[in-house]
Amino acid sequence: MALPGQTQLSHMEEFMEGIWKQNPVFVMVLGMCPTLAVSVSAVNSLSMGIATTFVLVCSTLLVSLIRKLVPKEVRIATYIVIIATFVTVVDYLIQAISLAVYDALGAFIQLIVVNCIILGRAEAHASKNPPLRTVVNALGMGLGFTLGLLSLGAVREIFGAGKLFGFSLFGPDFQPWVVMVLPPGGFFVLGAWLLLFNWLKNRKVDGALVKPLEGHTHA
């Protein structure tokens, strides 16, 4: 998001925001409820990620298009109506495509309405930016959320069932780690990913700090 006085991001940078710098799961730690609840398998994670991305892109596009028409006082209500519309669309779509996935995701499809990533994007980005920029940003955010969910879902499925996307990895004798498909497992895996992400980020920051200092002393 470009603040006044700041140089505007290119569309590529805008897209990468959600995937790396502002990743909804690993950096902003938003949308934890669906993240922890549905990430028991890679397929569930992927479906949830795609559903959220769809709602995110469509609703931010619409919010961006009407951003100059909506009075400030009723904007949140307007956003919710727009988001709820697309959630209903997704709800029926998933039911039509795969009833198994629909049952697995349960109430969490309807709960996309109150997903803070979507409302946050609508309020912080779509209401201030032109449609193309908003859609690019929303696509990045949606993809970042999907990647976050997938990285949790994959680890939990590998340990919890010995499978990945339903394909058996270790043969029939695999001992499932029951804890991984239970809520504590979700927290453990999320914690481990956050640890890894922060470690990588800190290493980058340290490297960036050390270099100019070295140059300074040599000069």
């Binding site: 010995g162 004798d173 001992q175 029951v178 991984m180 239970l182 504590p184």
Partner: protein, 349 residues
Amino acid sequence: MTGKSRRIELRAAPHVKRGVNVETIMLHVVLALLPIAGFSVIQYGLSALALIMATTVSCLLSERLFSRLSGQGNTLADWSATITGLLLALTLPPSFPLWMAAVAGFAAIALGKVLFGGLGYNVFNPALVGRAFVQAAFPVAITTWAPAFFPGRFTGFIPTTFTMPLMTPPGLAEWLHQHVVDGFTGATPLARWKFENHVASAGDLLSGVATASAGETSALLILACGLYLAARKFMDWRIPVAVIGSAALVALAFHLVDPGRYPAPVFVLLSGGLMLGAVFMATDMATSPVTATGVWIYGAVIGVVTVMIRYFGGLTEGVMYAILIGNALVPLIDQYTQPRVFGARGRKA
């Protein structure tokens, strides 16, 4: 840490009277654990030995890995990881597959200790965190028991010991049928009480012939080792006394109300991991309160929760969760049992 001297000594520095540091205390705890570990090897043979080595090596390697990653230098010398490994093995069933034991050791150090900042900063007893992790991950393996003193224990392993990593351990039924006297049900005394209403005799429980985790069978031996630590003041004697005392009182109350349903306090005290937990795990210095009043409250909570879980919970044994709950309460207990500062007025202790 424990001794409260009422005398005030006026002397110039140095004030150190006894060369006790973390390493010395930890080393003595290791020494006190060795007889218990040795007895479990006598009872369960090579499998118990392999189990003890697996958890200890796993704990030491994890500790080394994380101390290197965090740049803390070599923290193996303080013996704390060795204690965690030994204690962890003693709480596991002797037939526990070694790869699961290694997972437990890693979880104990990584989740129970390093995550909080290492020795002294951990909120929960690391060995119990490791055990809780594998209890949640592998509920079947951790409730599969082998009989004590089974024949051939020094010449061979229990078949589940060398399960391929990540694989399900084989069933023990056939092996038990071939090696063990008839009528072994594979149930611990607590399970037999809970599901069959059979109360094991105190003699069996004291001497350690009952089925149980590797190191919790002989109450006598655990008490003797605990007495040594308490006598050398390496351990706060109040904690085991409070745990055992409160468990006995609650058990007695239930027994008096309904003797047919609830066993005598002796059974409650001697069965399961109560002794091992009270003497070696509840007393962990980093995870128990520092105030004298607090220590009594802490011990009483553990004793009462243990009996409550055993009597009314779904699990047969509650010591592990009772101690973890006690650990979680420690900061609160410490805060409310602060002694009054000498000479200060107003707020009472």
